[in-house]
């Protein structure tokens, strides 16, 4: 049986009257030994898709929490090879997406990445420093393996640019909530809701909102909610403080949106 596509996974949540949940965790976090257990826990506690961060020495789109997680992972010897090996035999309910900066992917080899990632059950990639104008080579490598290259759009992405992405995008659309980097924010700015509304109007794909998300109330206030939410820094912080993945997911799964 074919696994559901990323798009289908989010649509299924919508059909069940839920917002799809997409936790992000850096590979090898908090320790390489406990990483797989935590991924399994996220899977068991209601994640629809899990984004796995591939550590990089110079993560320009990330705030301090993800950067620190990345630094720790690198210090522990985590790399793309290791990450894909951990993911290979997991047999998760949730879909898997690799989120990483371009250079480690480029050095691994784009063809080889597509093949090995698909082999490990990965269904898509997000590359925060690879805008539309530069993503041709990676997109070409991913297509034969049916991997989605997830488009990122933000408050300053105008409708015309969104349409250019929409022409090639697949999977889902990642809407960046703020003019900034990843990291926990108390309140989402007004522009987050506008970005979601515009992205929903332009794309026929589901829209996931990320950056700064940590509690359901942030989303409840939105008149046009996203189809999915991504949380990274808040989850990493919770785990680093000794909390469990299950505890973190609970307020999100208990809640009807």
């Amino acid at each position: 049986m074919h696994p559901m596509s990323l798009q289908q996974r989010i649509e299924k949540a919508g059909n069940e009257g839920r917002i799809a949940l997409i936790p992000f965790i850096t590979a090898g976090f908090p320790e390489p030994e406990s990483f797989v257990r935590i991924v399994r826990e996220l899977d068991a506690s209601g994640a629809d898709i899990i984004e796995i961060g591939v550590p990089f020495s110079d993560p320009v789109a990330d705030g301090p929490v993800v950067e620190e997680a990345s630094r720790r992972a690198l210090a522990a010897g985590v790399d793309l090879d290791w990450t894909l090996r951990q993911l290979a035999d997991l047999q998760l309910e949730a879909g898997l997406v690799l989120m990483g900066y371009y250079n480690p992917f480029l050095q691994y080899g784009l063809e080889r990445l597509a093949q090995d990632a698909a082999g490990a059950g990965v269904q898509g990639c997000i590359v925060p420093d690879l805008p539309l104008d530069e993503d041709g080579p990676l997109r070409t490598a991913l297509v034969p393996h049916k991997l989605d290259l997830i488009a990122l759009v933000g408050p300053n992405t105008d409708d015309e640019r969104m349409r250019a992405y929409a022409a090639v995008a697949s999977g889902y659309v990642y809407a960046v909530s703020v003019m900034g980097t990843t990291g926990v924010r108390r309140e989402l700015p007004m522009e987050a809701a506008q970005t979601v509304r515009r992205a929903r109007a332009v794309f026929s794909l589901p829209v996931a909102l990320g950056f700064g998300i940590h509690r359901p109330e942030q989303i409840l206030a939105m008149s046009t909610p996203p189809h999915a939410v991504v949380f990274g820094s808040a989850l990493l912080r919770h785990l680093a403080a000794g909390g469990t993945a299950g505890e973190f997911m609970e307020p999100w799964t208990k809640r009807a949106f």
């Binding site: 110079d58 690198l74 480690p104 050095q107 691994y108 420093d129 408050p155 640019r161 960046v176 003019m179």
Partner: protein, 401 residues
């Protein structure tokens, strides 16, 4: 060639949120920057504020020993002490015409930070400088100069806490502040249009050198040399020669920093010792591990201490139009001392690398030829570092030869 590309090198590898400010800058380059009125205003500032044109000085003593004429392009005499001001005045003026009220910049040694802060002060703009926490410690006097010019200084505590991390932090800040802020990038690297914009602002070095060569020794130089960190002083010197078929015989020689020099040591020589990859918005040559993590760099000269290099140099290297060599810390320190003693000029440790190649390998140049070294900056800022290495400057030994 594709827009923003030099052969395969260059590009715009940045988060989508940075594309709109890069487009805005591209448009400003095409409209404001290329207008005669802007160029005239900039020329006035470079003359009256920065002190251009800078002389082309013959090293009479050294030339006699070497058997060929050694000339120095005197960027050390530009206001604030390095070629960096050619770039920052241009970008600050452009930003002001774009309606921006604030400049942000990264700095390693502090030279670009000082030049940005001075330009901001001159043009009445706000200024924030991002500097690795390690560099803040190493370069205390430049920190004071920036503060005196009214700049806010942000020490960067992430990663290796040096220049590359300061660039990361400045890029992050630009995402947030792009509406009213220009990122005054410090070298001919980074995402398009910076490599082209910074080059165009630094070509004043090569253009003046050409005119002065013809005036002072009646022909083009046989070779021009420059140190290569990110590559801005070098491309500023090279480009007017590289882009002109009539100058095809002029040798273009870039010098990278080799660090301490033993095999496997940290260095800052990505063209000679690195491999192609993506960092800070560009595809170029990089110091990196096999799995694409950026390696720390090292050089005794903080201004060359960077693991990447501008894409146009990667291209000139690949086509063979320019040649690139490596010079170690020790050689550069020797050249620093020799130029001071023999010619009465204290060169920046960065520029000392280019000079050292000529002094170490005079056989690379024919007798009677004319060789120009771009003296990208003055070395006063380096006295503390030099005094740790040069016996001449240690203790209170009498200053006899």
């Amino acid at each position: 060639m594709k827009k923003g590309r030099f052969g395969d090198f260059g590009g715009q590898f940045v988060p989508e949120l940075l594309m709109p400010p890069l487009w805005e800058l591209e448009r400003a380059c095409e409209t404001i920057f290329s207008s005669p009125a802007f160029q005239q205003e900039l020329t006035g500032l470079l003359r009256d504020f920065a002190g251009r044109p800078t002389p082309l000085t013959r090293c009479d003593t050294l030339s006699q020993e070497l058997g060929f004429s050694l000339w120095l392009k005197r960027e050390d005499l530009v206001h604030t002490g390095a070629h960096k001001m050619n770039n920052t005045l241009g970008q600050a003026l452009l930003a002001k015409h774009m309606g921006k009220r604030k400049l942000i910049a990264e700095t390693g040694a502090g030279q670009h930070g000082v030049a940005t802060a001075a330009a901001a002060a001159k043009l009445g703009m706000a200024c924030t400088i991002y500097m690795g926490a390690v560099d803040v410690q190493r370069q205390a006097s430049n920190v004071s100069r920036m503060k005196l010019f009214g700049a806010e200084l942000v020490p960067v505590d992430s990663g290796t806490r040096t220049l590359k991390d300061a660039i990361n932090e400045a890029l992050r800040a630009w995402i947030v502040e792009q509406a009213d802020t220009h990122y005054c990038f410090g070298t001919a690297a980074g995402p398009h249009p910076f490599p082209t914009l910074v080059r165009d602002l630094q070509t004043v070095i090569g253009r003046e050198t050409r005119e002065q060569a013809v005036r002072q020794f009646s022909r083009l130089p046989d070779a021009v040399l420059a140190c290569v960190g990110g590559g801005s002083n070098a491309i500023g010197m090279f480009h007017p020669f590289a882009s002109d078929p009539e100058a095809a015989k002029v040798r273009l020689i870039g010098i990278e920093a080799g660090g301490t020099g033993e095999p496997g040591c940290y260095n800052s020589a990505p063209l000679n010792l690195g491999s192609p990859g993506v960092l800070h918005g560009q595809f170029s040559m990089l110091l990196q591990t096999g799995d694409g993590q950026i390696e720390p760099s090292h050089s005794v000269s903080a201004g060359l201490d960077y693991p990447g290099v501008g894409p146009e140099h990667a291209w000139l290297h690949s086509t063979g139009r320019a040649e690139y060599h490596v010079v170690t810390d020790a050689s550069a320190l020797r050249a620093f001392e020799i130029l001071s003693r023999r010619e009465g000029i204290i060169p920046a440790l960065e520029s000392s690398h280019a000079l050292a190649f000529v002094l170490d390998k005079p056989s690379a140049f024919a007798e009677g030829s004319h060789v120009v070294v771009n003296l990208s900056g003055r070395g006063d800022k380096d006295l503390d570092i030099a005094s740790k290495h040069l016996s001449l400057l240690q203790g209170d030994a009498a200053c006899t030869p």
